[in-house]
């Protein structure tokens, strides 16, 4: 599934998990900021009739090997998921949006911790668990997965 998960505030990386220690992921995430910023600016232009609750920004970069998807929270926290080109062909936009929403929820839970200092690295076991579930999940599961069942996902990963 996802081979890289990243969370950014402005252009600062506050969370990163890669399936392999490849430098390429870092460059790609960094390069995605351009597109994310641009897309967010376009969406929030005055006069836009879009629901500003959250932004699933879809495919960002059509790089050969990977597909990079972006999502922005109402407070402009950026979430990036990278999939390998070969595994992601069966993924639908709605599935990816669900993945992002789970990630977003996990992020909210994590920053709600009073001991978390804003804008610093995310260090949370629960968040790690959710990310792990995103990275190992099988295609078939994603379509049936909903926001209300994150515990199921955690169980599958821990067993």
């Amino acid at each position: 599934m996802a081979c890289c998960v990243a969370v950014l505030i402005k252009e600062n990386l506050i969370y990163l998990r890669r399936s392999t220690e490849e430098l390429k992921f870092l460059f790609l995430i960094h390069a995605s900021i351009d597109i994310l910023d641009d897309k967010v600016n376009q969406l929030t232009k005055p006069g836009g009739d879009r629901d500003t609750k959250d932004f699933y920004l879809g495919l960002l970069y059509p790089v050969e090997e990977y597909k990079i998807y972006g999502y922005v929270s109402p407070t402009r926290v950026k979430f990036i998921l990278i999939f390998e080109h070969s595994t992601s062909s069966s993924l639908k936009d709605s599935d990816i949006k669900l993945l992002f929403q789970r990630l977003h929820q996990a992020y909210i839970d994590c920053v709600s911790n009073p001991f978390y200092e804003p804008n610093t690295q995310l260090k949370s076991k629960r968040f790690e668990q959710v990310v792990t579930s995103l990275m190992v999940q099988q295609d078939s599961m994603t379509s049936s997965m909903t926001l209300s069942t994150p515990t199921v996902a955690i169980n599958t990963t821990t067993t």
């Binding site: 430098l23 460059f27 960094h30 597109i35 641009d38 970069y61 059509p62 050969e64 804008n119």
Partner: protein, 1091 residues
């Protein structure tokens, strides 16, 4: 490696039908030349390509077409010569130009000559289906006029000629252009139309011919022919300008190749190359038809399908080369399309092309090596082939097995040899540069950085270190600004190596410092080595040590080590070395010391010893006062922070100047040798805007140790005057009343231990309201006698000659405010003491209010309110004065000055002299007045007069009174027709007769007759004599009616009711309101008994 990258020029030429022009002598004949030039010139959308040929031109011979493909095994898909042949050699039409007039005397001879020419061309065409056209160039005078266009005679001759030449009639054209052409381009346009028709006809036949083969083909042995034929149909369709059919045929060929063709190691190159050709054609046409999405989708599919078809492992580089070329050609095509967007533009394809080339380079470097020329001749394996994509050493080979394994091995070695000679870096760099251009154009600067990193690596690998350094510098700076440390960790070691190899001292030091930044999580071994190298270089003048894998560059480095200051902008090296400056006080009195603290924090991984610390100020006089040259004070262990404190006195002439730190400079290394100069400038500023701090405060970790984040920054301090040792107080009672001379008592007490000489007291009004630019609404003065003098302004000052020690003096200040704005008064006492300027200042805010309000109203003589005055009739003017401020006021006197329209009935005297009013108290006075006659029936806005109030603040009886004047205006006056004036005693004794007199005024221009009746209501007041009478009154005069009455009861009793009505003129009525002006009651007192 030419085979895989081949993209023949013929493929990229836009196909246009070929027309050969024979017998045109462009060199000697002007007319021929202009015909050729018109046809040959660059025009948009011309479907034909023209070529000049000799009449005996040899055209490529046509092979015998086989009737059936049974038993036929094709040797390959597409011959390398085929496209060129049909673009440039095989004509669709041959046009023979010939000068022949219908009435030429040598008609027969020329006709025969022409016939010979035609036959020659026909022979040379040798079975090719090209049409032959004849164009007769004729004298324009012999050309038929409009009347005989269809001259049957000429028609006949033309028919005969066509039959003789054996060409269809359509192919014979006449061009009347000799000796000098008129309007040649119009003729040429018409001529070209017939060419197009013939040419397209030819290609249609060709397409038909190729298509006819299809039924005879099978899917097993004739796979290649299926593809070849579809390609040919597509190409002919393009020549025919039938673009939709062309795309369809190319797509058919492509899908046949993908779905049906057997692809194996021996023919994979041929298949890929043909697929690449077809893809190129399809994409190019899609872009030209403005269907970029179509093109992109097709290319994506193409790339996805073939990416995995690597082919023989030994020739993997060939596959990468082919892929790279595919991406590059697609990007080239895309570049021509204007519809690119940020997420879909040619840059991505150049990028991928570059990556494929990098992969190719890597494979080539690991697997390919040169071969000894003695082994065998590699050129044998690299010569051109008959078919695209085939191997020179086994052309036409269609079997899946390799027959000669030895030959195959030699061939692969030869190909690898050729590959090893390719300059991959050059290729990769040009692709990356193109990609960068596109990413820049589509505002993707961060992606650009990624590509620049690739570019820098590539330059470094091709040993072009200076260029690589250029890029490294840029990207390191960019990633540092965005604080992407993980990327920097990866980049910096190679950047440092690059700087070493190019012997660039400045960059080497810079990258070393970057590596030493605590944010960079490299291994401590690397970091320690880096710092040691740096120390060796700066302190001991030794060239840096490098890993054994890097070729040493010591000689160049030795040359570098002379005196050279390296200036480092320390603001950007956050974390490695930090500096904070802090003036302990915001403002320093000129007789005190300035205290400056400079805090330094060291992030070097090993202990470090700096040489000098220099602090620079905006005032150069202080530059040397805060320097450290004591090395002991500048020794830092890792993560140590230290605060250095400096004290110095400000200079007397810098009072009211700001002292500001411009830069701090920390020097590493001896100043007269190569040293590093860390300079802080911008980071010395306190954080400009709101900084998002953590919600939880960060506590001191251990006693005496202050967290770096909590250290304050203040880089400016103001030098101010010595504070004056005096007490300055004021006594006054707010609010200020508008226009009054507001008294303030200033108390000055000398607290110095000596007498104060020549102290200056200055009072200034500063407007709190910024918008108001008028400063003349406030007047300040020390004595009330000055209040009306011209010299008073909003500033006043005076000098006290001596203020004795420990004494207190008083001074009055008066302020007059001319409007209601609030304002501030600055009271400042200044004097010289010990040659220093001393000053004390207080600020008094003032609010200004109105002291009182005035209301006035008019009443008739019976005290009834009047809406409007009546001309020539008396009225009463009542004036109410109300105190509205909290300050009691005294009304000294008042004065009413009637205007010219008003007569006063009696002497006007003020009735409220010396009245004191507190808040909300009202004082009223009334005046009886009469209006003058008026010219018109109604006069509006009559000015009654001016009312002046003389008043003062009750608490200060000695300040002069103030006069406030109101204008009494806005009265309406009406002229009444009739006015009854009544004379009646104020009171009458009981049972004694008294007189009552009614004088009736006629104010109109005509005679009036009235009926008058004094109606008896009760017997309390009895009327003597007749009560009813009539009365004649001339215009503008009056008549009297007298009654004698007797009262029979004491008290305030009702009078008989006086009634008046009009007899003449009968049309007029008397206004009923007249009743209200008449007295209705009289006061009856008991009679004096004893009189």
């Amino acid at each position: 490696m030419a085979w895989a990258c081949i993209m023949p020029e013929e493929l990229s030429i836009v196909p246009r039908g070929l027309v050969c022009l024979a017998n045109l002598d462009t060199r000697h004949q002007a007319v021929h030349r202009s015909i050729w030039e018109l046809l040959d010139k660059e025009r948009a959308n011309v479907p034909l390509r023209y070529r000049l040929v000799d009449i005996d031109e040899q055209y490529p011979t046509s092979k015998a077409k086989r009737a059936t493909y049974e038993w036929y095994v094709p040797k390959g898909i597409l011959k390398t010569s085929w496209m060129h042949k049909h673009l440039h050699l095989v004509p669709s039409l041959v046009v023979i130009f010939f000068e022949l007039d219908w009435n030429d005397p040598l008609f027969k001879e020329k006709q025969t000559e022409l016939k010979n020419n035609i036959d020659l061309v026909r022979t040379n065409l040798d079975g090719r289906g090209a049409a032959i056209s004849v164009v007769l160039l004729q004298n324009k005078n012999s050309f038929p006029t409009v009347d005989d266009v269809y001259s049957s005679e000429r028609d006949q001759m033309a028919n005969t000629l066509c039959t003789y030449f054996d060409i269809p009639k359509r192919s014979l054209c006449v061009l009347p252009v000799l000796p000098q052409p008129d309007n040649l381009s119009a003729w040429i346009d018409r001529l070209e139309q017939t060419f197009i028709e013939s040419s397209q006809n030819y290609y249609m036949n060709e397409i038909r011919r190729v298509k006819k083969h299809k039924e005879t083909l099978n899917n097993i042995t004739h796979q290649l022919l299926h593809i070849r034929h579809q390609f040919k149909v597509g190409f002919f369709s393009e020549l025919k300008q039938d673009i939709p059919s062309a795309v369809k045929s190319y797509k058919n060929a492509y899908s046949y190749l993908i779905d049906n063709a057997r692809i194996h190691d021996t023919n994979i190159l041929e298949m890929k190359i043909i697929a690449g050709f077809l893809n190129y054609k399809i994409c190019r046409i899609s872009f030209e038809l403005s269907q970029p999405v179509e093109a992109i989708n097709h290319f994506r599919r193409h790339a996805d399908i073939f990416k995995s078809k690597t082919g023989p492992v030994d020739l993997a580089f060939e596959h990468k080369a082919w892929l790279s070329k595919q991406f590059q050609t697609f990007a080239d095509l895309f570049t021509r399309c204007p519809l690119a967007i940020q997420t879909q533009h040619p840059g991505f394809y150049y990028q991928e092309s570059a990556y494929q080339s990098m992969a190719r380079k890597q494979i080539a470097q690991t697997t390919c090596r040169r071969i000894e020329p003695t082994d065998f001749d590699p050129n044998e394996f690299l010569k051109p082939t008959e078919f695209y994509g085939q191997r020179p050493w086994r052309q036409h080979h269609q079997s899946m097995e390799i027959s000669d394994a030895q030959k195959e091995r030699e061939a692969i070695a030869a190909l690898r040899d050729a590959e090893s000679r390719v300059n991959h870096s050059e290729l990769i760099i040009s692709l990356l540069v193109q990609a960068i251009t596109h990413f820049k154009k589509h505002s993707s600067n961060r992606m650009k950085l990624y590509l620049m990193y690739n570019l820098a690596e590539e330059y470094a690998s091709s040993k072009d270190y200076d260029k690589a350094l250029n890029y490294y510098n840029h990207i390191v700076q960019a990633y540092r600004t965005e604080q992407w440390w993980p990327i920097l960790e990866a980049i910096l070691p190679s950047a440092l190596k690059c700087a070493y190899l190019s012997a660039n001292l400045q960059d080497w030091i810079r990258f070393s410092l970057e590596i030493l930044n605590p944010n960079i999580q490299l291994s401590s071994q690397i970091k320690n080595q880096t710092q040691t190298n740096l120390e060796n270089l700066i302190i001991k003048n030794l060239a840096p040590q490098v890993e054994p894998t890097v070729s040493a560059n010591d000689d160049k480095w030795k040359a570098l080590l002379n005196k050279q200051p390296i200036v480092i902008d320390a603001d950007t090296f956050k974390g490695l070395l930090e500096c904070k400056v802090y003036f302990t006080h915001d403002a320093v009195s000129v007789d005190c010391d300035i205290t400056l603290q400079v805090a330094l924090k060291n992030g070097f991984p090993l202990p470090i010893e700096f040489d000098q610390l220099l602090v620079y100020f905006n005032l150069k006089e202080y530059d040397d006062l805060a320097n450290v040259i004591d090395v002991e004070k500048l020794k830092f262990s890792p993560n140590e922070q230290r605060i250095l404190t400096f004290n110095f006195t400000p200079r007397g002439d810098h009072v009211q100047r700001t002292l500001e730190i411009t830069s701090v400079s920390l020097i590493y290394g001896k100043i007269n040798q190569t040293h590093i100069d860390f300079q802080w400038r911008t980071s010395l500023q306190p954080n400009p805007s709101f900084q998002q701090g953590p919600l939880t405060p960060k506590w001191q970790i251990k006693a005496g140790h202050i967290l770096w984040e909590n250290l304050p920054i203040r880089r400016k301090t103001n030098v101010i005057m010595r504070a004056a040792e005096v007490q300055l107080t004021v006594e006054h009672q707010l609010p200020v009343l508008l226009y009054e001379s507001y008294p303030i008592k200033i108390h000055i007490k000398n607290c110095e231990n000596v007498d104060i000489q020549s102290a200056v007291l200055t009072c200034i009004c500063s407007n709190t309201d910024e918008n108001s630019s008028t400063s003349d609404d406030t007047f300040l003065f020390y004595a009330t006698a000055d209040s009306n003098s011209e010299t008073t302004t909003n500033i006043c000052s005076m000098t006290f000659k001596t203020i004795n020690k420990d004494t207190e003096i008083e001074q009055d200040l008066y302020i007059r405010c001319n409007n209601n704005r609030s304002r501030e008064i600055i009271i400042r006492l200044s004097y010289e003491r010990l040659n220093l300027h001393c000053m004390k200042e207080i600020l008094i805010p003032l609010t200004v209010v109105n002291p009182f309000s005035i209301q006035f109203q008019t009443m008739g003589m019976m005290m009834e309110p009047l809406a409007s005055l009546r001309a020539q009739e008396p009225f009463i003017l009542m004036i109410d004065t109300k105190c509205i401020s909290t300050i009691p006021i005294t009304i000294v006197s008042t004065n009413l000055k009637p205007s010219q329209f008003i007569i006063s009935e009696c002497a006007i005297e003020s009735q409220i002299n010396n009245t004191q009013l507190k808040q909300d108290e009202v004082v009223t006075e009334g005046f009886c007045l009469r209006t003058q006659p008026i010219a018109t029936p109604i006069v509006q806005n009559l000015l009654v007069g001016e009312y002046s109030l003389y008043w003062k603040r009750s608490s200060h009886p000695d300040i002069p009174k103030l006069c406030t004047t109101f204008s009494l205006s806005d009265f309406n006056v009406e002229q009444q027709q009739v006015y009854v004036e009544v004379s009646i005693p104020n009171n009458v004794p009981l049972q004694e007769p008294f007189q009552i007199n009614y004088r009736i005024h006629n104010r109109s221009n005509i005679v009036h007759e009235y009926k008058i009746n004094l109606e008896q209501i009760n017997l309390i007041v009895a009327v003597c004599g007749s009560t009813m009478t009539s009365l004649l009154v001339p215009p503008h005069s009056s008549s009297d009616v007298n009654y004698t009455l007797v009262a029979t009861l004491c008290g305030f009793v009702q009078l008989p009711k006086f009634k008046i009505s009009m007899i003449r003129p009968p049309t007029q009525e008397i206004d009923e309101s007249i009743d209200r002006t008449l007295p209705t009651h009289i006061f009856v007192v008991p009679s004096l008994k004893n009189s």
